[in-house]
Symmetry: C2
Subunit: 425 residues, 2 copies
């Protein structure tokens, strides 16, 4: 049975999350399926950012450290993020970049492993993990005499040998949208004596996450994707409270000190997650991040992450169904799992030829997804579409696939202007 | 001969930099002598920040990576900062925090020393260096089996033994405003075979710095003090081009990769300073930093850093003279050197009793300086006053000292409300 535009409009009309879309500024004429790369601007952000700039910085200046609580902002925003990832209050800080935070927790995990299980000198990760995670792990392994072992998803179990210190995975794969079973994988890693470190870059705010229930050991995540925190927003870091006080991490700056304003020459780490802070944080960008996180907390009265998840799966199901119905015979493949339990909040299509140009042609039509190059071997070129249930509607999905159909049907993507590569894609 | 308010007004009238004050929003009724902690907001910042938020993020979204050059912003702002510190184009990036950047360069310096001069396993610094620098050094020494040796300024020469790998100093001391002779100290360190690492937190934009002429090895600095970049603005990092390609640093994130958008699993460091980048940078805060740096570049047509330095010394000379004339007998001491060659852009007063309360009483009167606690032994409690020549005038200095005189003369500082400590001071 063919899905119609009217069917999609009916789904929007029944959507309990529909009103949340009003929290965002969606550019006119744009269907934005790239919230997995950079979330849309909350309407509250310009005024709040202006307030931090003109009032807190411009007028109150240095007194804002006390008056506007700048020093406690990373913990305060962290506590809000904690509600989205099943973390207890006081166990998350919003700070630095995902890469820097990964360095902190992987470093701490390696120290923990060295203390509790000497001889375990391997870090296991996926070859298709987001590269910066692998680079950081590579650097730390080189510094500390560990070995980084990269495997395919189906090889993870077999790779968990008795010499593995840490299993480090991204919960939802950035290329394919495939999602790991967090509790099961965590339990499997820990049963072999390894520590479990999760990167939640494509999960926080996108799918329900319960770090506490999964009994994970460490986690980091990104502020500018599904948390809608703005370009390069500070990232976040969580450490299982049972580990938090056991080790300090080498980015031992003053914001992680027990008494930073005593200016003592010796480092004494603050208790808990605070020791995972390092230097002074970018307050203007942090204010924008808080606006973004607040859009997700606004969903709490509409069913919260469970309702967002239901809608996300309905959106991605609809997209997949429409692509099958309307783009048949155009050589598109599906890289994202059909099984809901294994799917994040994005859909990735593959095509042997023209994936980059098709994405460009769609962008020119106002349908913004992105392209991720394959490695020519196991992984094909990918057309990536993120579905942020806070602001994407079912009619949007219909139009997006309609444009995709037209781009393929007309051969529009073959035009030269869609085949010129940008520096950053 | 007594200095009068009219004398100060005459100095302002002759000041070739006077018009630059119009670049800033100085809160009404405030004499802001804390630009060494958080610089004043440039008038250009609110509009530019709003543009990044509403246009670049809000409207152009992910396309801003190309359209608005987000990816190259750290290098572009770095090139502007380079002009203030005697660094060549392409050798500075604006990124992360000072603490994180110090970790990068100290780590790289330690690797360089291990390769070129094995056996050198000491890092020498000043006991009164800004604590976060010492914490980072302490952490790295612990990780790498090095020893951190802390000395007083007059003991530095003697501490430069043949086992010293790196001399790590802050150019202008945050507590006292005392300034090192950068070329002489650099040459002394290098003559013993040590590498020279400078923290320019209280120098960049405050005093002339020529890293190239001094042939320094590494430098970091702060964006939110004299660069007027806003609260927690990204910091900067410089590496002498002769070292830049020799080592990569362990914060090996994707922004330091030679081809970050090829998403290859192996880290291949970019040439030059780019490899000192790590993760995605906070674009909104980075835009504010650029506004701040631009205020210093605006001074280039008014004589640049040399003219700023002349005015800074005139301001601090005036402040010292007026304190001597008008506050005699009130137990104030001077912690800042009288010798111009040894003075940064701040003046620090000492007092055996009430330093904290006097600062609070001054703030209540609109004269904003800050307090730094002594350690009870060598260092006394400090009343710290920064003089940013871009926006502080000679009349401001007169009124500041007039208020100080009144606070001391009336005993106003003894009021209970001025003796309650805040969390952050």
């Amino acid at each position: 049975m063919t899905i119609t535009l009217q069917d999609c409009r009916a789904l929007d009309a029944q959507d309990p999350l529909l009103s949340l879309r009003e929290l965002f500024h969606i550019p006119h004429g744009t269907i934005y399926l790239d919230g997995n790369s950079l979330g849309v601007m909350p309407r509250s952000a310009p005024a709040r950012v202006a307030e931090v700039v003109t009032l807190e910085w411009g007028t109150d200046l240095i007194q804002s450290w006390n008056k506007h609580g700048w020093f406690s902002k990373p913990g305060q925003v962290g506590d809000k993020i904690a509600r989205l990832i099943g973390a207890a209050p006081g166990t998350v800080v919003a700070t630095d970049s995902t890469s820097v935070n990964l360095f902190k927790v992987l470093s701490a995990a390696m120290h923990l492993a060295e203390a509790d299980s000497p001889g375990r000198k391997r870090i296991v990760s996926e070859r298709s993990n987001f590269p910066t995670d692998l680079y950081i792990a590579q650097a730390l392994c080189r510094e500390r005499g560990f070995e980084l072992v990269l495997v395919e998803p189906e090889e993870i179990s077999a790779a968990l040998t008795r010499d593995v210190a840490v299993l480090m995975l991204t919960h939802v794969n950035y290329r394919t949208g495939a999602m790991h079973d967090m509790p099961a994988v965590t339990a499997a890693a820990q049963s072999t004596g390894a520590l479990m470190l999760w990167d939640l870059a494509h999960s926080a705010g996108a799918v329900p996450v319960d770090l506490t229930a999964a009994n994970a050991d460490y986690a980091v995540g990104c502020g500018y994707k599904y948390l809608n925190g703005g370009p390069g927003a500070p990232a976040f870091v969580w450490v299982n409270p049972k580990h938090a006080d056991r080790f300090w991490q080498p980015l031992a700056g003053w914001w992680g000190h027990a008494t930073p304003f005593e200016f003592t020459p010796d480092y004494r780490p603050a208790p808990g997650i605070t020791r995972y802070q390092c230097g002074t944080q970018p307050m203007i960008s942090l204010a924008a991040l808080e606006c973004g996180v607040d859009t997700l907390l606004a969903a709490e009265t509409h069913g919260g992450m469970a309702a967002l998840r239901r809608k996300s799966l309905a959106l991605t199901d609809l997209f997949i169904s429409l692509v099958r119905e309307r783009c048949e015979g155009h050589g598109l493949g599906l890289a994202t799992p059909m099984d809901h339990a294994q799917r994040g909040s994005q859909v990735c299509l593959t095509r042997a030829e023209g994936a980059y140009a098709i994405v460009q042609a769609l962008i020119a039509r106002g349908v913004v997804g992105d392209f991720r190059a394959g490695d020519g071997d196991r992984h094909k070129d990918i057309l990536r579409f993120g579905f942020t249930p806070l602001y994407i509607g079912f009619e949007d999905v219909w139009h997006a696939v309609d444009h995709l159909h037209q781009v393929l049907q007309t051969g529009e993507w073959r035009r030269p202007e869609f085949n010129q590569k940008h520096a950053v894609t």
